[in-house]
Symmetry: C2
Subunit: 223 residues, 2 copies
């Protein structure tokens, strides 16, 4: 029987890799979508995206340039004049790496593509816990977006966003990934560097803490 | 007193011109956003956008390339292999000029920009009547999108989409435009041509019928 098609948003990071493994385990054919929004680490992320596409034998892949988000600005991920904030995992403030409304931009593109290729699901590896400062990473945002899809696409179209790891902690995500044999060594989380992960930025700190709590060794090298 | 800032989505067409005039009449400072999504008539639309920006003395303007929508395809507006459908104003089928989920893509960009420049409103000249086939032109879509903005932006951010002509007929829009002295001769609606409007495509047919019903002469030339 022909499998349904699911798009996975694949940044090339740990979360999107584990999300891909979950989508595969739910018996979907996969199509991978990667966004280049002018981030510092684009080169390495794209390399991981291509490695992961090969690993998961995707039916389709699409890389979309959304560097207009850099033009719009307002974030250290896209504006080289704003320094990357060093990790402060206790804060609830919105970090400077915030690209305003980024996930809505990404999901809108994913839905357009889903409607064209006939995908039924859009998987995104958003995690509430480690991105509590990002308003567009919370479950109620994705629920509201599902309503927008319902009202804004053709009547016969049924596309839904799936956020399978949204309530997981990073150590749980590491464990799920290992259980599903996800290729975690082909992922990149560092916000700052393209060769050896810095180990210091928010994203590295979260990842390293996750592996430590899970009692596992992170397979990628750090500076 | 300092005026609030409103973004207006300005394609360069009749509807966006009249919407700009309405936003101005509501005492907002204006910022204009134009999207180039690879449509056939981009050259002429951009010319109108610039003329209208000058006329309305905008505080900021931004042109964003979203030609990835062309890459995603599925529409005669962006895919030169699909012929433009000739007007059939009676049909309720979704026309071939449909770009899947286009308005969600456009609004997501507008919200990102609004958050950066501090705009309170996003005006869009969507009209239910003449675009009944486009799911993302209906009022319930915009209402759902306002919920996505509410959940997906910073808590202190208050941005709302305004659709002031959504329930108007084209002849009413023409009349409002004339009453507000909107520069209708600096607009372009044709889907097909860049120099002289074809007069035959859906968009020309709707516009011409609107002017005729309003008892007014369309100030632009037709083939």
């Amino acid at each position: 029987m022909k499998k349904d098609l699911a798009i996975v948003l694949v940044s090339g990071g740990l979360d999107s890799c584990v999300t891909s493994a979950i989508a595969e385990s739910q018996n979907y054919d996969l199509a991978f979508l990667h966004l280049n929004y002018g981030q510092r680490t684009e080169k390495k992320e794209l390399e991981c995206f291509n490695d992961l596409s090969e690993h998961f034998k995707v039916k389709a892949k699409l890389v979309v340039d959304v560097s207009h988000l850099a033009k719009i600005g307002g974030s250290s991920l896209t504006d080289s004049a704003i320094p990357v904030t060093e990790a402060n995992l206790e804060t609830t403030e919105i970090p400077s790496s915030y690209v305003p409304f980024r996930n809505a931009n990404i999901l809108a593109i994913a839905v357009s593509w889903a409607e064209v290729i006939g995908a039924k699901k859009i998987f995104i590896g958003a995690v509430e816990e480690d991105s509590s400062g990002y308003p567009d990473c919370r479950e109620n945002f994705f629920q509201a977006f599902n309503q927008v899809i319902e009202t804004g696409t053709k009547p016969e179209t049924k596309i839904q966003i799936e956020t399978p790891i949204i309530h997981n902690t990073k150590d749980e995500i590491v464990k799920i990934g290992i259980e599903l044999k996800a290729p975690l060594k082909k992922t990149w989380s560092c916000y700052s560097e393209n060769e050896i992960a810095c180990g210091k930025c928010d994203s590295c700190a979260l990842r390293l803490r996750g592996f430590a709590k899970a009692g596992e060794k992170d397979p990628i090298p750090y500076a």
